[in-house]
Symmetry: C2
Subunit: 362 residues, 2 copies
């Protein structure tokens, strides 16, 4: 058990004690949590990321649903304690199935279990990873001249993310905290996070990490927590600037927001996960026009998502306001691989050099 | 350019020559291809896999659509030649965008490009990988005491899939042909292919690869070609038995079929990709009953897929007939992680030992 896990165990025990103490006193147990929605996201000037504001929601055992949540909290706490003691971990899916044996506390959907895990994070100020709960898989990979010291079957081992890996790069583990994961050394000038596997493979094949002296991180869609945490650590501990290169559509804007500003679902740990200085290098609506890219029409869901972003406090600045309106006006979106219209080298010979030199990174 | 690529270039040039020769003779060019559907799948006793039968379809330039296909064939052949000469590769998505510059030969959907790439495979008896065309990403990983010699930036390098990797394992590259990928050595008794990342992580955490002396391959859903090819090579070159462990639903049965029998879409290269001796170790319909697993109801799509499997020649044997009917009768499906109902160790302490000892593998 490492220090983080000990803290997690102590804090969760306090949560359970709180419930029992209330029952002992003859009070109805309750838990107060921040409201986890867009309405309650506030910018924190200290850490420069978006966190939950002061709106609260209270769970009380007065209702059956509230009482069930308390019971689940007790079972989940017990399960986590057991995992920490036995040095095990569990996927959120497995916890859902394990709850089959929890009688009335059984989760009816996996979402109920996921939400409870996040609730316990906000109450305990620990991270799900400290509870040994993990997602199914992250799919994220890193490629570039960076050496990590990471846990293997033979103990901690140095792996260089260029020399010691196949062309797919280094597979990011589910926890990248210091206890089992160190950033040993690097010879790069910045980090480039990429949405799609196709673009990641393109930049590797074109030798871009070597030419631009950068490290690529394949986000694999909406990035997992470990991926965001790793980007944050590379930025914070090594002072490496971060740029994010995605498709040009509202879902990709959200991917950027979760890397740079913090995601709504995980705003209680934004200061662990978000990299506020991360910069977006496209595809923007302006890029679609300036580079005359092949496009697809926005569908109804896209349009709805763009409108939702207009009322999302994280996107409330001049840049996003203009880009989101431009995309709505033209009614079109584009993929980052659409740059291949001009050939396989265009992205590394023209697009990225133009974008990165504007930022002084090339 | 390696030998395989030279052959690919020669064969594709012949295809283009065929079209030009017909035009020179004043004939209408045409191409004859095997019909690529379930109706035309036949068991090949020689290789023990399922391949296309004798039903054919003919593309003729007599129609606009046929002529467009010929034109696309010429452009695609040219693009592939260029990639092979310049030692480049391309995702199928990139080829779709590159076709923007092909005038009337432009692909209207990516599927058109994918299908053409497969057509060229059947005509040329080469593989898409020889054409330097690749999918977006595979997501497949390998974990176990197997050492591959694989291409890195510093040339060919040995990587042990237990000692030299993070807990996620070794990321499978898009081409695992001998020119850039060798199976160097191993100390395992069999290969276990797994559908889900959650189960893959569970077996690694529980130390199952060490205890059972096996190598795990995470299929990551419907397995990519490189994943199936790698399993085939491990089976064929190293004589390692293969077992497949998936969820218990019709889609998972298809995953097994594509590993063991050959997939319908890629039946022209079944003898490269399929491992006919691979054995299914669940989750079966019988397992759902015998182990009293938590289930979900079959939805309409599931039921449709099960009925389709009953008329699929690959599933035409006693085992599948009985399992598919049993699943239809009970109207339920289950995930492999449902075994967590009995705790995190149940799968490695009870389920897998029971299944594997029936096969004499443990």
């Amino acid at each position: 058990m490492n220090d983080r896990q000990k803290v997690a165990m102590d804090r969760l025990t306090e949560v359970a004690e709180g419930i029992y103490d209330a029952l002992d006193r003859g009070d109805i147990p309750q838990m107060t949590l921040p409201l986890r929605s867009k309405r309650n996201i506030e910018f924190d000037p200290m850490t420069q990321v978006w966190k939950y504001g002061s709106l609260k929601t209270t769970r009380t055992a007065k209702t059956t649903q509230g009482a069930t949540t308390m019971l689940r909290t007790a079972y989940t706490t017990d399960f986590i304690n057991e995992m920490i003691r036995e040095n095990k971990s569990s996927t959120l899916r497995e916890m859902y199935y394990i709850s089959e044996g929890w009688n009335a506390a059984k989760f009816h959907t996996q979402d109920e279990g996921n939400l409870l895990a996040e609730d316990l994070e906000t109450i305990s100020h620990c991270m799900r990873e400290d509870f040994k709960l993990r997602p199914e898989e992250s799919g994220a990979h890193v490629y570039g001249n960076v050496t990590f010291r990471t846990m293997t079957k033979k103990g901690m081992k140095d792996i260089n993310c260029m020399d010691d890996v196949s062309e797919q790069g280094f597979a990011v583990p589910y926890s990248v905290e210091k206890e089992t994961f160190e950033i040993k050394s690097h010879d790069v000038k910045f980090i480039m996070a990429l949405e799609t596997g196709g673009m990641y493979a393109r930049l590797i094949e074109n030798g871009f990490p070597e030419k631009a002296e950068c490290c690529l991180v394949h986000l694999s869609g909406q990035p997992a927590r470990s991926t965001r945490r790793l980007i944050k650590r590379l930025n914070e501990e090594n002072g490496l600037p971060v740029v994010v290169f995605t498709d040009g559509d509202p879902w990709s804007f959200r991917i950027f927001a979760s890397v740079a500003y913090g995601a709504i679902k995980t705003a209680h740990i934004s200061d662990y996960l978000a990299t506020p200085t991360a910069q977006f290098i496209g595809i923007t609506a302006s890029d679609i026009l300036n580079y005359d890219l092949p496009t697809d029409k926005l569908n109804d869901k896209d349009i709805g998502a763009l409108h939702a972003e207009l009322t999302d406090p994280r996107f409330n600045d001049e840049f996003w306001d203009s880009e989101i309106h431009a995309m709505l006006d033209m009614g079109k979106k584009a993929e980052q691989q659409a740059l291949a219209k001009y050939g396989l080298d265009y992205v590394t010979d023209t697009y990225l050099p133009e974008k990165l030199s504007q930022l002084g990174l090339l």
